[in-house]
């Protein structure tokens, strides 16, 4: 299950992800993280059955946690099946089916957004 964790990094804040890993013993896979001096956002993947445990632990450290149920959103009416998105995706979310129609493996998506600007037809959007 994918979780989007956002936290502020004021004075006295500890390393949240490391602490959660130590406290819960769950091995968190960090798929993507943007952390600067004042705030951070990380997309993490955890086993489904340990999701609640991680989520509660993160929240207790002051982080906001949102479960990401959807990957990138493809608007079929705009897509022309060109495949411009295929090679820019770091996770191989996109491929062609045998009929050269674009196939999307939503599960693999880490919402990095690279494909959004690569799509000439503005057919890809982030889920709300």
């Amino acid at each position: 299950m994918k979780l989007l964790v956002t936290f502020s990094r004021g004075k006295g804040r500890g390393p949240i992800i490391a602490q959660v890993v130590r406290d819960t013993g769950v091995l968190i896979n960090v798929e993507r993280a943007v952390i600067d001096s004042s705030e951070g956002e990380a997309l993490i993947e955890v086993p489904d059955d340990q999701c609640k445990l991680v989520r509660d632990s993160m929240t207790s450290f002051g982080a906001q946690v949102r479960i990401l149920e959807h990957g990138i959103n493809l608007k079929e009416s705009e897509c022309v099946d060109c495949g411009a998105c295929i090679s820019v995706c770091p996770r191989e979310v996109f491929s062609f089916d045998p009929e050269w129609k674009l196939a999307v493996d939503e599960e693999r998506c880490i919402l990095c957004g690279k494909c959004i600007e690569a799509c000439p037809h503005r057919a890809l959007t982030l889920p709300l």
Partner: protein, 502 residues
């Protein structure tokens, strides 16, 4: 054996013509042999669907009361050509909106018209005795226009070179998004289904030949602009009635950071007259080669990284220097198939008959580069040859003195042989003085990653380097990487002396 165009049209009329797509043809030839295929197949349909920037449409609005001779014209804030008097215009696909810039352009206006949407026309004029009106503003739909004739000067490229990027930053090009360090390869073209690739000698494709254009019956006007079949890059000028076109085969698009373009679906039916046609239409993706070019080089002669076939490009990855690099198509093979299939249906049903060119297109022409009477300014024209450098083993104090004495903000750092090894700025020196620490020598504080230029580089390219890296000076180096001059933002002022601005 030879079949005449009349025989083929007769079969089309009585519904007995055997029509196949160019994708089906190679296996038919392999199975039946060339003579067998000639006997069996009457028409091969081709198709392509991709970004064709050189596209647009002539529009006629009819006269207003009082009438106007439109001189400046906008459609949904996209400027259209105003030099055709009085109520005619040409809307070009890549023209961008004055307000929405690359998110909306001429291609979007054309798609909106085809989709039946309302488009706002605004125009202005000086006003004349015969055309007194000075401005007009009205909402129009495609059905309100007398004519809407698509006329695309350069479509249906025979093939197109693939693209990669060896620089360390992402490039935004008409070949799409190119990741740094050859992180991906992009390509365009329908390969096996491409019209000219199935008739490279241009025996069948020429002026007056009927085609499928964006879902409507259209026609080849003649050779396209920049037509260069000698090197395998033939193009076509084509026309068709916008009023009969379909959004299924006409789509506006934006290549982020590059601009607006129009995706055009185009197919040409080829009559199978003789064995030469059979052989030409038996072409496969494996037989069509293109170069992968390095778009990291911002000049006309981009280095060839390697040569590949469409089969390799379409396989999903291509090997570059021992690494499998993922490929992306910018054109749609699925849509190209749909074009060829729909065109096949038209010919089978007899709604489109074939004809031979009324005027042939030169199959051996070679497009030339621009004849430039004046070369643009180069770095050597404006660079500062009295560059002051400093040795890497000098003390920071010495650097501070040099900066003061030379009244400059940048000191290229050189080794004993005069070869560039780094750069320091007034900021680096001030920082070292304000925070005295372990740094004593120039080499302790210099930046070793230096962006440079060369004397013969175009100033426009040097300026892009300054902008992209947010810096204000470029050391000018020779082939041995020795510092021979410096180009600073101040030197650019020389450009405004009038010598280069005519």
């Amino acid at each position: 054996m030879h079949k005449s165009i009349e025989q083929i049209n007769e079969r089309i009329r009585d519904g007995s013509a055997r029509v196949v797509t160019a994708e089906e043809m190679p296996s038919i030839v392999a199975e039946l042999g060339e003579n067998g295929a000639l006997k069996e197949v009457d028409v091969v349909t081709t198709g392509t669907f991709g970004a064709m920037c050189s596209s647009g449409a002539f529009l006629n609005f009819g006269h207003a009361e009082p009438p106007i001779r439109m001189e400046r014209i906008w459609l949904n804030n996209v400027e259209a050509y105003g030099g055709l008097a009085a109520v005619d215009t040409y809307i070009g696909a890549t023209q961008q909106s004055d307000t929405l810039e690359e998110e909306y352009g001429g291609a979007h206006v054309i798609e909106d018209l085809v989709a039946g949407k309302t488009v706002e026309l605004r125009a202005s004029s000086r006003g004349t005795d015969c055309y007194p009106r000075r401005t007009i503003s009205t909402d129009l739909e495609l059905k309100n226009l007398n004519q809407a004739i698509m006329c695309n000067p350069r479509n249906a490229y025979q093939r197109y070179n693939a693209a990669t990027n060896t620089t360390d930053r992402t490039l935004h090009t008409y070949m799409g998004m190119l990741l740094p360090s050859s992180g991906n390869i992009t390509y365009s073209g329908a390969g096996v289904l491409n019209p000219i690739s199935n008739d490279p000698k241009l025996r069948l494709i020429g002026s007056g030949v009927p085609i499928f254009l964006c879902g409507a019956p259209g026609m080849v006007v003649g050779e396209g602009t920049q037509h260069s079949p000698a090197g395998g890059f033939g193009t076509l000028m084509v026309t068709g009635d916008l009023k009969q076109m379909s959004q299924d085969y006409l789509r506006a698009a934006t290549m982020t950071g590059y601009g607006v373009t129009l995706y055009v679906g185009l197919g040409i039916p080829l009559p199978v007259l003789d064995l030469d046609v059979v052989r030409a239409t038996a072409v496969r993706d494996e037989d069509i080669n293109v170069d992968i070019l390095d778009y990291g080089v911002p000049g006309r002669s981009r280095p060839v990284i390697r040569n590949v076939t469409y089969a390799e490009l379409r396989s999903g990855s291509v090997e570059l220097n021992g690494e499998e690099i993922k490929t992306s198509s910018l054109s749609s093979f699925r849509k190209a198939r749909q074009v060829a299939a729909e065109l096949k249906g038209w010919v089978e049903k007899g709604t489109m008959q074939l004809s031979l060119p009324t005027r042939a297109i030169d199959p051996a022409k070679q497009a030339r580069p621009m004849h430039q009477t004046a070369k643009g300014p180069r770095v050597l024209d404006i660079m500062d040859k009295s560059v002051i450098t400093i040795g890497e083993t000098e003390e920071i104090r010495t650097a501070a003195k040099k900066l003061l004495k030379g009244e400059t903000n940048h000191l290229p750092v050189v080794n004993g042989g005069g070869v560039l090894v780094g750069i320091i700025t007034t900021f680096d020196v001030s920082k070292a003085v304000a925070n005295p620490g372990k740094a004593h020598f120039v080499k302790d504080i210099m930046k070793t990653k230096v962006i440079t230029t060369t004397p013969d580089e175009a100033v426009d390219i040097a300026v892009r380097k300054l902008e992209q890296n947010n810096i204000s000076a470029l050391p000018v180096v020779d082939a041995q990487h020795r510092v021979i001059a410096i180009l600073t933002a101040m030197n650019l002022g020389k450009l405004f002396g009038g010598r280069w601005l005519k």
